[in-house]
């Protein structure tokens, strides 16, 4: 039987209250969101916080809105809520693709977007998706809030720039114009499992089909900050063809650093990285063209 070790529990009523509690209980206090990463870690004694600050009762962090040209996703939005959001999927299909393959419907009912990012597990799918989208994390402290690009949010495995007395409150994604499309591709051992490898692609194409901007996110394969800047650099200025997407996949595969584990050996993960990057790019390009023709795919 796995039970967490002794811990104190406080319920935060508002963001301000949570920050006050975090300050009062110090660095051994931990934020409790969905608990679907933290509680398993506490059961295994991989985490032994002295105090849990439960933020589930804070209203206002569970909204998905569009304002000032940005899609805004509250830190307490559940995976299932993002999956079901027509607004989010309409602008960024990569989010729906990724959510469809994160865990299972019951886990998605409770796990949160903020918890996913803050957990900073090297296999976290949303870190790759938001990295590809060049999203901005809004972090609140007692002295005000700061905006940090998701590409600078993770300091390493299980480590982020969020300080002990801070809260991640929101993710913001700048809404792209008509020539953009996105997609996510993942391979796992079975439905609901973590990725063996996964790739997200975000493309902006000019009217003549040239790649003007690209975002490539990678999960589970040791890509720095969950992105492949090498593949992005390669793509910019190239024609959006299957041949180019194949080469971009190879660049992504060469530049990642997968580790061998029970999910597979290094060469297999590298191969998958290339293939999934290529597939995600192809699907993103199909979506750009469909959108130009007034369809969604």
């Amino acid at each position: 039987m796995q039970v967490p070790s002794h811990v104190e529990y406080e319920k935060a009523k508002s963001v301000e209250h949570a920050l006050e509690l975090l300050t009062r209980f110090g660095p051994e206090a931990r934020v409790l969101a969905g608990g679907h990463s933290l509680i398993p870690m506490m059961k295994l004694r991989l985490a032994q916080p002295e105090t849990l600050i439960d933020i589930n009762g804070i209203s206002g962090l569970s909204r998905i809105t569009v304002a000032d040209g940005e899609l805004r996703i509250g830190a307490l939005v559940r995976h299932g809520q993002l999956l079901a959001s027509a607004v989010a999927a309409g602008h960024f299909p990569v989010l729906r693709d990724a959510e469809q393959v994160i865990a299972d419907p019951i886990v998605r009912n409770w796990g949160t977007i903020g918890g996913s990012l803050c957990q900073a597990d090297p296999s976290e799918d949303l870190s790759a998706a938001f990295g590809a989208l060049r999203a901005i994390a809004v972090i609140q402290g007692r002295d005000g809030s700061r905006r940090v690009p998701v590409r600078e949010f993770h300091l390493g495995p299980y480590e982020t720039v969020v300080a002990p007395a801070e809260l991640l409150t929101e993710l913001r994604v700048p809404i792209a114009g008509d020539g953009s499309g996105s997609a996510y591709e993942k391979v796992s051992r079975r439905v609901g499992d973590w990725s063996i490898a996964a790739a997200g692609a975000v493309l902006t194409l000019s009217s003549d089909g040239t790649v003007t901007e690209a975002g490539i996110g990678l999960a589970a394969v040791g890509a720095g900050h969950f992105v492949s800047t090498a593949a992005e650099d390669f793509l910019r200025g190239q024609p959006a063809t299957d041949a180019v997407f194949g080469q971009a996949g190879q660049v992504a595969a060469e530049h990642c650093q997968p580790a061998a584990d029970q999910r597979g050996p290094v060469d297999y993960k590298r191969h998958l990285t290339g293939e999934l990057t290529t597939r995600a790019l192809r699907r993103a390009a199909i979506r750009v063209r469909a959108r130009a023709g007034g369809q969604t795919v």
Binding site: M1, Q2, V3, P4, S5, H6, V7, E8, Y9, K11, L32, G35, H36, I39, P40, M42, K43, L52, D54, N56, A103, D104, P105, I106, V107, N109, W110, V191, G192
Partner: protein, 153 residues
């Protein structure tokens, strides 16, 4: 908290998991405790109307909230249509996964009264059955969707 319409007040340690609270404190042993790692779904119950793997929640998180377990499915001595469906279509063998399957099935039909086979399979995809091979579970859920008032309909 309220469980199946009855209010309970208990003092518990913050580290107590919700599944243990329900089974050991309230002695509602319908909800099962299986993998303990949020993978099998034997512990699924509803928290504020939404299915949850209760091995991965603290009892304290449910403070003041509303819980429904498999014991709360029957109404006035009559089994819920999903329970009747599992009987009619042999949706269980050992029964270990069944309480979780029933809670998910009820939620699915409440939100999608006419689920497709793919939707049923997706809904239970986070829950493991070692006996039935899932075929009869899918048939049972479909039976329940087709008989919204149970065998009478």
């Amino acid at each position: 908290m309220t469980v199946n319409g009855t209010e309970y007040t208990r003092d518990v340690e913050p580290r107590m998991l919700l599944i243990h609270f329900i089974r050991d404190e309230l002695e509602l042993t319908g909800s099962h405790w299986g993998c303990d790692t949020s993978n099998c779904g034997a512990c699924v119950l509803w928290l504020d109307g939404t299915p949850l793997k209760s091995c991965t929640a603290l009892a304290a998180m449910a403070n003041g909230r509303d819980i429904r377990t498999v014991e709360g499915l029957e109404r006035g001595g009559e089994l819920d249509p999903v329970q009747q469906g599992f009987i009619a279509c042999h949706g269980l063998q050992c029964g270990f996964c069944t309480p979780g399957m029933l809670m998910t099935a009820r939620w699915l039909i409440d939100h999608h009264p006419h689920p497709t086979e793919a939707e049923i399979r997706e809904a239970i995809s986070g829950q493991i059955c070692r006996c039935t091979g899932y075929e009869n579970i899918v048939r049972s859920v479909r039976w329940a969707a087709e008989h919204p008032s149970g065998a009478a309909s």
